[in-house]
Symmetry: none
Subunit: 418 residues, 2 copies
């Protein structure tokens, strides 16, 4: 079974809204082993919708449509389907009762336009709307499309999601005979090209039904290993074989094989061992602290952050010696080490991280270009563990993020060896 998704809405075509509905539906369908072949966004004109629905129904077994079921004039999805299938409308007692119950609570009368919300295409299976008033529909289409299914849902995300979970997914899961397994392999500190070269032979020998996708983002790459098949056991085994092979090859760059962030991975390692951390930031401007404190429960291991942009702040808040700054410059491993040591002392934490660098766009020179980062990590029991200089070459915002990723990666490595 193959699906397509049709998103109806001019606000999507004007770029005023990002199509998060389609991603939700696609992921949900993948979860029941139904791959999505195409996602089409179209305007809410009757002719346009009717032809988009027809094209999708010809290609796919299931077509999920969202949008155009509301009470206003630009909601024409039902009209388009009537035109396409030559069917009429009928009142759904079930949808009408739902509507009356919902609105009765709010003391609103059932006007004509509200009653329209309970009118459905003849012969549909009604999808109850537990979050709103427009009824959804599942239509089997023997007229033209060899029993392919057309599913109509509202575009309001909360209404669509509830319909998917309560009705649509169980309905099609029962018809699907496919099992699927996705495993993300989350890496840091390695680029797409280098990683691809490192695992080229594994990629060449993927078992049937297994695919490997590169999902690059600002600071690294996530590999997604997906296995599709009929037997649960075979699917799990094939998927695990590939994940294990890649883990053996590129293990030093892999921080997780599940949907978890680098900062959460580090947080779990610190929490498990009862260790604490503090950060001293110049060029990352608070981003490292902010990422670490994005993790729920981080107050148990994150003690304190110092954002020391000015030289004076570095001296006063962290005790970085004035002469170190004067002799080596604020962007130097010497200053990074002094910041880390000062941060340890002021905070009393077990680990301290520091960053000093040039995020840009101004402030660079030939010796110290924009994108240069000096970082250090120190540990209460053993002093400075490492300091490093790295060079990124991006814009300010991306540099800040890559700087933060670099120092978090070093901490993650230290914790692995700890």
């Amino acid at each position: 079974m193959r699906a397509e998704i049709v998103s109806v809405g001019d606000e999507l075509l004007k770029g005023q809204r990002v199509n998060t509905n389609a991603a939700f539906m696609a992921a949900a369908l993948a979860g029941i082993g139904v791959p999505v072949g195409r996602i089409v966004t179209c305007s809410d004109g009757e002719e346009e919708m009717a032809s988009v629905f027809a094209e999708s129904l010809e290609r796919a077994d299931i077509v999920l449509v969202t949008g155009g079921l509301g009470p206003t004039r630009d909601d024409r999805t039902k009209k388009a389907v009537q035109q396409l299938l030559g069917r009429g409308l009928e009142l759904s007692e079930e949808a009408f009762a739902n509507l009356a119950a919902r609105l009765g609570q709010r003391g609103v009368e059932l006007s004509g336009s509200l009653r329209d919300q309970a009118m459905v295409i003849e012969g549909s299976h009604v999808i109850a709307n537990t979050r709103g008033s427009a009824a959804g529909m599942i239509l089997c289409c023997p007229e033209r499309f060899q029993n392919h299914y057309l599913v109509l849902m509202p575009g309001v995300p909360s209404e669509m999601k509830a319909m998917m979970e309560l009705t649509v997914l169980p309905w099609f899961a029962a018809l699907s005979d496919t099992v699927i397994r996705h495993t993300p392999i989350k890496t840091v500190g390695i680029g797409e090209t280098t990683l691809a070269e490192m695992i080229v032979d594994i990629e060449d020998a993927l078992p049937g039904g297994t695919t490997l996708a590169y999902l690059p983002h600002a600071a690294g790459v996530t590999l997604m290993i997906s296995t599709l098949g009929r037997e649960q056991e075979v699917v799990e085994r094939d998927n695990r074989t590939v994940v294990d092979a890649i883990a053996r090859r590129a293990g030093k760059f892999i921080y997780a094989t599940s949907e978890v962030s680098l900062e959460a991975t580090i947080g779990a390692m610190l929490a498990t061992r009862g260790l604490t951390v503090a950060v001293a930031e110049s060029c990352t401007g608070g981003l490292v602290a902010s990422r670490l404190t994005d993790v729920p429960g981080s107050s148990s291991y994150f003690l304190q952050g110092f954002v020391v942009y000015s030289n004076q702040a570095k001296e006063r808040s962290l005790g970085v010696p004035k002469e170190t700054i004067e002799r080596f410059g604020a962007v130097s491993e010497e200053v990074a080490r002094a910041m880390a040591v000062g941060c340890l002392e002021k905070s009393g934490a077990d680990f301290a991280l520091s960053t000093t660098g040039i995020a840009g766009p101004a402030g660079g020179s030939l010796e110290k270009p924009v994108g240069m980062l000096c970082l250090a990590i120190a540990k209460k029991t053993s002093g400075v563990l490492l300091s490093k200089t790295l060079f990124m070459h991006a814009d300010r915002e991306l540099n800040k993020f890559r700087f933060s990723e670099a120092v978090l990666r070093e901490l993650w490595e230290c914790l692995q060896q700890d």
Copy 2:
């Protein structure tokens, strides 16, 4: 002129990534008066891409494609276009020089797969990639599609955005005979419904060709006023009339009528007056410092940040009295005020902001629920200017962002009155 957008990528069809690229491109095209008819997401199979490209080229004058130009094996966009148009590849000297310059700096050799990145479809106009290695292309297609345009760009958002702004938009703006004017009205501290009620009569009386869209986001609403027409002067006048009317009505919630962030607006106000700022953060965990330092040139006014998660850090780094914390609790306006005053003293800045609250998910109580924020602002010359308690009710990440927005909004108001 009409456009379509094709997004290539299995990760989009699996719902592993939300298609933000398409929204960006659609909004950008709207900005030069080119409406988007459809957005199609398809898989990276060669046959599939070739047929999607062909269908779109038959319907639209311009087809923008993103994805499938990278160095890995699942990057097959160029192959699909070769198949579709029957053209070969040629080395682009320009793209190769760009690649060599980029990678030379990092000391990496130009391997075969990297050289492939500089190969383009014969007869294309090359779009320089200022953020990455894969070259983009603009192809005029006289072979099959009556001089319709096919534009190929990488799927990495930063690379695609730079290509759109530097090359693609100027190229097609010159071919478009429609004038369009968009003005964003950026608000803070007011919800969509309240704002809509406040300007209902202005919305009812919009001039012809002018539309008003609500773009709600995590912390507020941007109103987008768009005017479309043939004559520059009329378009500008109609657009300005609406913007001015809304500004008169809702001025106290509007911080900008251009694409600028709240932090950049504040930064410009500080820089102009030669004032400096420092921040003391508990619940925002460094996010306020990070947002302020996202602004280029922020080192001229941002002195220092203190991320004081633990009570001990509040006492030691900012001199918050232990008894204040014990008597009122760490989340209290009393502590927020003491943090702001301590931050002023330790940093020497002209303004100090502070936040203390409960981001969640744990740590809430009936009196102090998750989403509670206490904030304060102090000024060197006059001490504490204000303290406030606010209540948000969202998840941890959204609360952190809303907390940061709330304290930045208060600073913005103080600066307006200053």
